[in-house]
Symmetry: C2
């Protein structure tokens, strides 16, 4: 029986193609509107998987569009009723369902606190969050039935990448953007054995994911999928933070999953990865760098030639397949793991 | 033999007293200078323990002073050489040693990118970070010789609390601020058995810390102390995020450490804690709420009557003693755990 989860993982090339081909003019128009109001900075409100998309926005809007991005502390609004001033801010709410309570509450207050614009990104144009915002970008990913988000996450990342390019003055990014759907398809093909290979982790109780820079989000999202779908205690770390203390937990055999595609992020991680390799850690590596992959007990490849800033969109896919396979190996109902609800109703 | 770690934990009431009594006029002057330049928002650059102080700042400067605070992605500067625009920003670097590379690099670029002021908070007035910033607040905590930061962390929190009060227009916070050193002393007395009680966790391989709102930072800092000092895989969660998916990992006997002092944060957590209790989780609770503490396998009390926004300064202390005791129970050199360096030299 095919599960929703594997079906939705497989749909990703098509979902991304639709976004690039159909949503681009709309995103370009929103980018012009954003430029008109000249935001000083952006504040993003999101939870769970969407919060990992927000982490991607912090790097991508920062590096491509020069826009400083902060992640909101939404409980200032929902729990303490003390929303800070938002003078000059672009406030962005991200939620797959558009029915998460926190982003809606913060966006409702944003203009009164000085925000120059509100924007929402959801997979349901009829949702409250889509209605509340000044502008809305629909993911058009089709209904997501599995409780674990996959296609809506990569659609959120590509939406943010498109927005960053439209907010930047550069057109040199275009060719690469067009190829993202194809790269996703190739990644899934390259990882056709990853689901079965996941069986080796059946008795893993905990692990750490490591990444840096643009793929910081990928580490968090992979850790979240592992927790949601396999009940493994998986913790995401910036490799810089990890190096600064927590690496003390690494013993021989300690499971580390590194996301390290070619680029500046890998340059800063290479020495650490070698050290962990030498100390006998159990290394799983997602990368397109042959030498880096050669140090892994399990190598999860992605295509060569992807600019680093776009790698997060495809680098999560091997992780999704890993979590899917491990969930099956552990006998868990992947479409309805215990404890998971589709909509965040937390205040 | 007395270790530096236990000595520095014990020094905290005196360190906090010195801050309140001697540094207040200087912080008030800096607050006036900040108000003069009218920052739109604050961006904080920090790593490790200091990053947890930054999390406290996000809530405290937000709630008391109405100042939106974002945590920087410093690798945009140090790895990608693409510092975003910082128009109207107050950029704050926090580092115990003042010799961490990332905050210094970001602060050096801040004015050129539009920041209206830079501020650093360190324990060494002669350090590079102290010299680079427009303004500097010294912690005056005395040398910290243990590799795990304790007294400098609580001094950072109190410094940020003092700054938040001086930036707000309210004087109603003053009485409580004056009592923080005394509350820290009482907390250490109330937890004189915590160090020995930590032996029960000797064979714990992993755990999750849970907190919400102001004490979000406490969950992260306790998890960091456990990882640094005891090599336990400890992951910090906002109780709201945890509820939204990762709670699937909770089986009977699963170790959860909740930081839940009386206040709005506890109000949002109470139902979750009851659920975890009912499902047989192994609950350790830091609180001053008798009913909440009654549900814990190990109850770690803090004094009654502390306003929620100040509880993080003392609520970490039982956690420090827990990490100290567990480190001893596991036969680790608490002053020099493996893998830990005092200064973050990460780019």
């Amino acid at each position: 029986m095919t599960t929703w989860l594997e079906k939705e993982i497989a749909e990703q090339p098509e979902v991304l193609r639709r976004l690039v081909e159909e949503e681009r003019p709309h995103i370009a128009a929103i980018a012009r509107a954003i430029r008109d109001v000249q935001p000083r900075y952006a504040m993003i409100v999101a939870r769970g998987t969407s919060d990992n998309a927000a982490r991607y926005a912090q790097y991508t809007l920062g590096a491509l569009a020069g826009l400083a991005v902060g992640l909101a502390a939404p409980s200032l609004t929902t729990v303490y009723h003390r929303t800070p001033r938002l003078d000059g801010a672009l406030v962005i709410g991200i939620s797959q369902s558009g029915r998460s309570i926190e982003p809606a509450r913060v966006l409702e207050e944003a203009h009164a606190r000085g925000a120059v614009m509100t924007l929402s990104i959801t997979n349901d144009a009829g949702s409250p969050l889509a209605q509340i915002a000044d502008h809305h970008i629909p993911l058009n990913a089709g209904p997501e039935r599995s409780l674990a988000a996959t296609k809506t996450y990569t659609a959120q990342l590509l939406t943010l990448a498109l927005l960053a390019v439209e907010l930047s003055s550069g057109i040199e990014w275009d060719d690469a953007l067009q190829r993202v759907p194809e790269w996703m398809g190739t990644t899934l093909e390259m990882n056709e054995n990853t689901r079965a290979a996941a069986a080796r982790y059946t008795f893993m109780s905990h692990c750490v994911t490591l990444a840096r820079g643009f793929n910081y989000c990928t580490g968090f999202e992979l850790a979240l999928k592992l927790k949601e779908l396999t009940y493994v205690v998986a913790e995401a770390y910036s490799s810089a933070d990890f190096h600064h203390g927590p690496k003390a937990i690494v013993q021989p055999g300690f499971p580390l999953i590194a996301i390290a595609p070619q680029g500046e992020g890998l340059r800063t991680m290479a020495d650490s990865l070698q050290t962990f390799h030498d100390s006998g850690a159990d290394l799983t590596i997602i990368s397109n760098d042959p030498e880096t992959l050669s140090g892994a007990r399990l190598a999860l490849p992605i295509p060569a030639g992807i600019p680093e800033w776009l790698t997060p969109i495809v680098a999560i896919a091997p992780g999704q397949l890993l979590a899917l396979g491990l969930s099956e190996a552990r006998g868990i109902d992947v479409d309805s793991p215990r404890g998971l609800h589709k909509v965040t109703l937390t205040e």
